[in-house]
């Protein structure tokens, strides 16, 4: 299902923009895939500053999905993506199944290889509780997206649910072709401009690896491990936990060439057959 990947190491949502920003500085063809910034139905100007502060071995952030909206993204960037060999996975964020489906319905254009549905967003139908805390809500969104597109659908779940087995079963039954397991942990926004932040980076790695283990235990679709990966040893730990591929987020901020380098290192350790 995720055979369109060039290799198992990709850039995580929000940490590589729309790929175009880095085009001149990073050899994109060494990446397994690029996941775009979270894209919403309408343009958003994002969260108030400060949006980002370091935490011990981690990054605490609240970006607020600043993005130009799906129409602009598809118009401005998709034609460029269509000229690249690296597949681009469009990450979508919304607070209702309808908005997710409406975006998914338009996204099957040249240049978009797959969709990643970010379920960490607050659920408007449930007083703002993250969609991914509730298996039924997560399944509803997944089914709506599945209906709206023929593109591969990757559902991104956060480790906040504590035990993600029920959740992963629900979204796979609803039609998810793959899962991204990891994302960030909800955390205090006291040092940010927003009331809640998300914790990412090496600090959460052991939590994300456990999430991959649980998902691997519960479902048989490919799992993309995400959370704190920064070295090739971390990639191997994710693969050992059951991941088919990994995403690199926070660590790309310090070194945008890292994902390509890890892909190369991995190839040396595990030559393709």
């Amino acid at each position: 299902m995720i055979d369109f990947l060039l290799n198992p190491v990709m850039a995580a949502a929000g940490c590589f923009g729309y790929g175009v920003e880095a085009e001149g500085q990073v050899d994109l063809s060494r990446l397994g895939a690029i996941v775009t910034r979270g894209t919403t139905l309408q343009p958003r100007s994002g969260a108030p500053a400060p949006r980002m502060v370091e935490a011990p071995s981690g990054l605490l952030h609240a970006i607020g999905h600043q993005n130009p909206g799906i129409a602009q993204v598809l118009e401005r960037f998709a034609p460029r993506w269509a000229t690249w060999t690296v597949p681009v996975i469009l990450n979508l964020a919304a607070s209702s199944a309808e908005d997710f489906a409406s975006m998914a319905g338009r996204a099957d254009v040249p240049g978009v290889a797959a969709l990643e549905i970010d379920l960490a967003s607050p659920d408007l139908a449930r007083r703002g509780r993250p969609i991914s805390l509730d298996p039924a809500a997560a399944a509803r969104v997944t089914a709506a997206v599945r209906q709206a597109t023929d593109l591969p659908v990757i559902v991104k779940l956060s480790p906040a649910a504590g035990d993600v087995r029920a959740l992963t079963r629900a979204v796979v039954e609803a039609g998810a072709n793959a899962l991204t397991c990891g994302g960030g942990m909800p955390a205090s926004g006291a040092t940010l401009g927003s009331s809640t932040g998300t914790l990412s980076g090496p600090a959460i790695r052991p939590i994300a690896i456990r999430m991959v283990e649980q998902a691997h235990d519960a479902v048989s679709v490919p799992i993309i491990g995400c959370g704190g990966v920064a070295t090739v040893a971390d990639v191997l730990a994710m693969l050992a936990a059951g991941a088919a591929a990994v995403q690199i987020g926070t660590a790309l901020l310090a070194d945008p060439t890292l994902a390509g380098r890890l892909a190369d290192e991995l190839r040396l350790l595990r030559p393709p057959v």
């Binding site: 940490c15 923009g17 100007s45 994002g46 108030p48 500053a49 370091e54 920064a230 926070t250 660590a251």
Partner: protein, 293 residues
Amino acid sequence: MSARLQASRASRPSDAELISAREFLPGQWLQTYRAPSLAASLRPGQYLQVDAPIGWGVPMRRPVTVHSVDRGRGEVSVHLDSADPATTWLSTVRPSENVALLGPLGRPVRVDPRSHQLLLIAEGPAVAGLRFIADEALTAGRRVTLLLGAHGAAEVYPSSLLPDEVEYVVATDDGSVGHVGSVVDLVTRYEAWADQAFAAGPPAMLATLARLAAGREKRLGVARLGRRGGRAPARGSQRARPRSWLQVLLPQRVGCALGVCLGCVVMGSDGPTRVCREGPVYEVDELTWDDPT
């Protein structure tokens, strides 16, 4: 290709060798690195980043303020003032060791060719980021006045670190040196004299200056540079920057410095703006000052 893209393509880590380090005030360090290509390309207002090794618990790169540049010797001096782990790591580097300095990053200050008299305004350790502006201005034959605010004498940037040609005026909260009170009080005395002003300090101080600058044209009757004719670009636009009276060096946490993570974004008058790329230098009118951070 836009100037911005060109600037970003030129930003590569340079292997820089530490030549010397000194603590010129308690907790404030100057480090001088041999880095010829950086020394040649850096312009006042731009910054660098360093990446602490894995194991320091610092997942992000750290912005580093450029203090001064010696193009002839190919040397760059940086200023370290905070106690965060990455800065602590950088301060453990010893002479003859190498560090990768990423830069030049961000957009420099823009000095109008017609400006002859520059006012530099700083509060606290941020003054270190203005020193390079002063050096370049003096080289170009401009006159420079530096106004500095500090809590007390113990925190005043030493005049021995400044070129003799700079007029240096200090204000301290406790009155232990110079004027008693805020540096902002001093600004009105110089606003008529200065063709352009450049400020560095905490967001609240910059916001106060922004309000002061907004009233300046009215107080002086007309803006000095505006007089000299030509169609003025719209206020708050980036094209207006070289003509504006006040530019600020906005402190903000910087993540990727590449423009992708949007972690450094603040609200500008034209919408969100990335401090790492469109900044860190802004013409006052490019920013909204209600919520300065």
